[in-house]
């Protein structure tokens, strides 16, 4: 039981290191958007999701409505439903409802990837360990990023606010080089988003992200349906 927990924690260490740097950027971004250090850490501790948090900060900074916040999180984080669905088929019989309610909180892209790569059924101690280390990386990175954002000169924090976007680019460009369907989605989504920002500025940024993402993914799904095999390969 204890061993499984430690094994999970160990499997979470590479994720923790990656999360630390991403969430550092998120902390800086929060300060840039006039959020407090406490708010930045509060968001990371309760959400544990990169893209959703960045979009959420955009909604808060723009004074958007709560409906906009809900829709925004729904669209951006909908993929977690699928990951949860997939992992629910891999759980050990000791996974009762209480464990599911706790572990469900920690399903992220990377944790999902590691968990689904396990050959044995997933036990609660393993999952708690696998979630704990990345969670600590995510929270502490946000805290330090927010503090740094508060004390560093404006020229440095301005440059650091590019970190998260740089990371997003590093996520989407390499697969798009080999996959023209993905390249199509990325370019279409960027184009729609640019049109919203410069030609339809009355549409708030949260809604602009939702609409751009839905238009481009639905268009791509209609023109280029993806087979189960392709999805499996691209999923991780």
């Amino acid at each position: 039981m204890k061993n499984k927990f430690v094994m999970g924690m160990r499997h979470g260490v590479p994720i923790m290191l990656g999360y630390f740097s991403v969430s550092f950027g998120f902390g800086v971004l929060c300060i840039q958007n006039n959020l407090s250090v406490l708010a930045a850490v509060g968001i990371s501790v309760t959400n544990l999701t990169s893209a959703g948090q960045v979009a959420g900060v955009a909604v808060i900074a723009a004074g958007g409505s709560l409906i906009e916040m809900i829709l925004c999180q729904l669209v951006i984080n909908l993929r977690y439903s699928l990951m949860s669905l997939s992992l629910s088929q891999k759980l050990d019989s000791s996974f009762n409802l209480m464990h599911r309610l706790f572990v469900g909180f920690g399903i992220t892209d990377e944790i999902f990837a590691v968990a689904s790569a396990q050959t044995e059924p997933l036990t609660p101690p393993y999952m708690y360990g696998l979630i704990l280390t990345p969670f600590l990386g995510w929270s502490s990175g946000t805290l330090l990023g927010a503090i740094a954002g508060d004390i560093m000169p404006a020229s440095v924090t301005a440059a650091l606010s590019l970190m998260l976007y740089g990371m997003f680019i590093a996520i989407i460009i390499p697969p798009a080089k080999k996959n023209t369907k993905l390249l199509f989605v990325i370019l279409l989504s960027a184009a729609v988003s640019v049109v919203f920002h410069y030609l339809l500025p009355m549409v708030s940024s949260g809604f602009a992200i939702i609409i751009s993402a839905l238009i481009s993914s639905i268009t791509a799904a209609l023109i280029f349906p993806v087979s189960a095999k392709e999805r499996g390969e691209a999923a991780e």
Binding site: N77, R79, L82, M163, G166, F168, P225
Partner: protein, 102 residues
């Protein structure tokens, strides 16, 4: 509106999205169309969040564009995420210094 309300709504929404299928739903989604949309969504979301926001992220269009181009080039050559992130920021910072001198 209080920031705490925003954060609470954000957290509860995200939690429910994750936990409802985990705790309740069984079986798999069969529709190829829905599965295709769900496959594309993460890329579409990241792209829409990055563009055009990255063009004015630093508060200065020139340094932002320098950082964007640096990120695109480094990502094209498959450099690790953290290298692209820091390299993009560093390029923008250096561009800012050069502009300051000029």
């Amino acid at each position: 509106m209080s920031i705490a309300v925003y954060i609470a709504v954000m957290a509860v929404t995200t939690y429910l999205i994750r936990v409802i299928p985990f705790a309740a739903v069984r079986g798999k989604i069969k529709s190829p169309f829905i599965n295709s949309v769900l496959y594309y969504i993460p890329y579409a979301v990241l792209s829409a969040m990055t563009f055009p926001a990255i063009f004015y992220a630093t508060g200065n269009t020139v340094t932002s564009i320098v950082g964007t181009v640096a990120a695109l080039i480094m990502a094209f050559f498959d450099l690790p995420l953290i290298v692209v992130a820091i390299g993009s920021s560093a390029s923008a910072f250096i561009a800012g210094l050069i502009i300051g001198i000029i």
